[in-house]
């Protein structure tokens, strides 16, 4: 099977620090791939390279087998790669509907839209409500309420729903449960599984091993700017994974390609 998003020999240096050192990456269709690694291992550089937030010094990225060059997160979005940033990138004072359609608003057809450039609010609100209820988030009553009046989990839910609504090919989630409580984390994990059930592959960056082992199909272990190995969470324990990423245990070289 052909990977939907892959990268080979990515290199990125910041002065004398090498963040990515001939790094490879593969995401298969329909899977949840977790990316784990110690702080400073180069996870965020890898993710930023894949989402267009940084430009790599060398190496290639392929989407659907075609080479791509993202100059900005907007480029990546147009190609169907959506990222949910840890900061969520939402405007707190604006409504849920406004935030979901920020930067890709729908205009009314005909004169009102073409000449007066009027937004089609009913359509945007309908789609936003639809997307939220698809993901079981309709505890949110009012689609026009400001994002700052939502709880942390609800905000995360809206951000994931926004990505799921527009991310046609790949969704990247950066630490989606880091700021959440136990119960809210649960909802977000269910949300992630829902999104996969719709056939959209997900890259999940997380420090939370229980969460990673619960939802991931494969785990990409990142160490010293490289892909150390890819493991199947069913074959290893969490302490194995932590041992691999900290270098306490030798990586299982054979399983890396088998998975």
């Amino acid at each position: 099977m052909q990977p939907i998003l892959s990268a080979s020999n990515l290199c990125k240096r910041y002065g004398r620090v090498t963040a990515l050192d001939n790094c490879d990456f593969e995401l298969m269709p329909g899977e949840i791939l977790a990316v784990i690694g110690d702080n400073g291992a180069g996870k965020s550089s890898l993710i930023k390279a894949l989402s267009g937030a940084i430009k790599v010094d060398s190496g290639d990225i392929y989407l659907d087998g075609q080479p791509v060059h993202f100059n900005s997160p907007i480029d990546a979005r147009h190609a169907g790669v959506e990222t949910v940033y840890q900061t969520l990138a939402m405007s707190p004072a604006l409504s849920i509907a406004d935030n979901m359609f920020m930067g890709r608003e729908i205009r009314k057809p005909g004169f009102m839209g073409k000449v007066l450039r009027q937004l089609d609010r009913p359509a945007m609100e309908r789609i936003a409500r639809q997307k939220l209820s698809d993901l079981g988030l309709m505890t949110i009553q009012n689609i026009n309420q400001a994002v700052e009046t939502l709880s942390g989990g609800q905000r995360q839910g809206v951000a994931v729903a926004r990505a799921a609504a527009f991310g046609s090919k790949v969704i990247i989630l950066d630490e989606p449960t880091a700021a959440l409580g136990v119960k809210e984390s649960r909802r977000v994990l269910d949300l992630i599984l829902d999104v996969r059930a719709r056939g959209i592959p997900i890259i999940l960056i997380s420090h939370n091993m229980p969460h990673v082992f619960e939802v991931a199909d494969r785990i990409h272990v990142h160490r010293l700017g490289q892909r150390l190995c890819v493991i199947d969470p069913k074959d290893y324990t969490m302490s194995d994974a932590v041992a691999f990423m900290t270098g306490a245990k030798a990586a299982p070289g054979a399983t890396a390609s088998a998975a």
Binding site: P92, R117, A146
Partner: protein, 352 residues
Amino acid sequence: MSNQTEADGGLVARADAIASFEHQHTMLSRVQHALHSNPALVPLIVLVLSVAVFGALLGTKFFSSFALTLILQQVAIVGIVGAAQSLVILTAGIDLSVGAIMVLSSVIMGQFTFRLGLPPAVAVACGLAIGTFIGFVNGWLVARIKLPPFIVTLGMWQIALASNFLYSGNETIRAQDIEASAPLLQFFGQSISVGGAVFTYGVIFFILLVLVLAYILRHTAWGRHVYAVGDDPEAAELSGVNTKRILISVYALSGLICAFAGWALIGRIGSVSPTSGQFSNIESITAVVIGGISLFGGRGSILGMFFGALIVGVFSLGLRLLGADAQWTYLLIGVLIIGAVAVDQWIRKVSA
């Protein structure tokens, strides 16, 4: 899930009740929510109250269509400049050069007509173009060079004001001359009266401008982007908003609106005077702040600014009719400014 962990096992029988304090929907919290979603409500209430109070004190002297439309005429110039200021402040910026752009544009319209002998229509177009260009330079410096708006427009204020005096030679063009040879310059001074109410074209332009901007800010993508840029520029950028283009277009539009204010200024005072409109920048910021637009950006509405400008007008006219010292007006305006910002801070604390 196959890998359901021990920790999450404990969630199976989880209680759905979350830790909660007794949450009372008090009168006050309801008011707070209402104000959060309708930021123009506070200035509207203050406006209605002040009209009612002055009406009760002064009777028909104040409550005549003539007096009430006089207020509109008196605030029209500040209100037009305030509309420009609102746009900039919504992006979390500030434009100190609005008054200077206004005066420079009016001087250019006058001098191009009388010194260069251009047709008035061309001179007006030049004035509007130069106002827009100065605004564009402000926006370019803020968005591209990333200089603080306060510094950029503080500098531009001095530059535009100095150019105004240098170019005009501190010379006023008399109202009679304009009336005789270039009545187009006084276009906004013309008026229609309905009963005792007098609406100058400047007032009508001011009201239309506010309505058009309210529509644009609420119902177009550009308008939503203005709010998003003021709210959280990084989030807006990551969401796909071209923040630089929005900032430059906001400052350029502000410059254009100020140039229109300059044209309306000629209509209001009749002559072209390089020393007029000295306090427009502070007065426009006052109208914006009293109108409930947050100086931190992203919150408020242009209708609020409209009410804010009217509040200032009602206070000045009402107190003058009462025979009070003009300083009372400034004192009360000062109280309103501080009160408005305090209310803004309180509204921001709203949460689910």
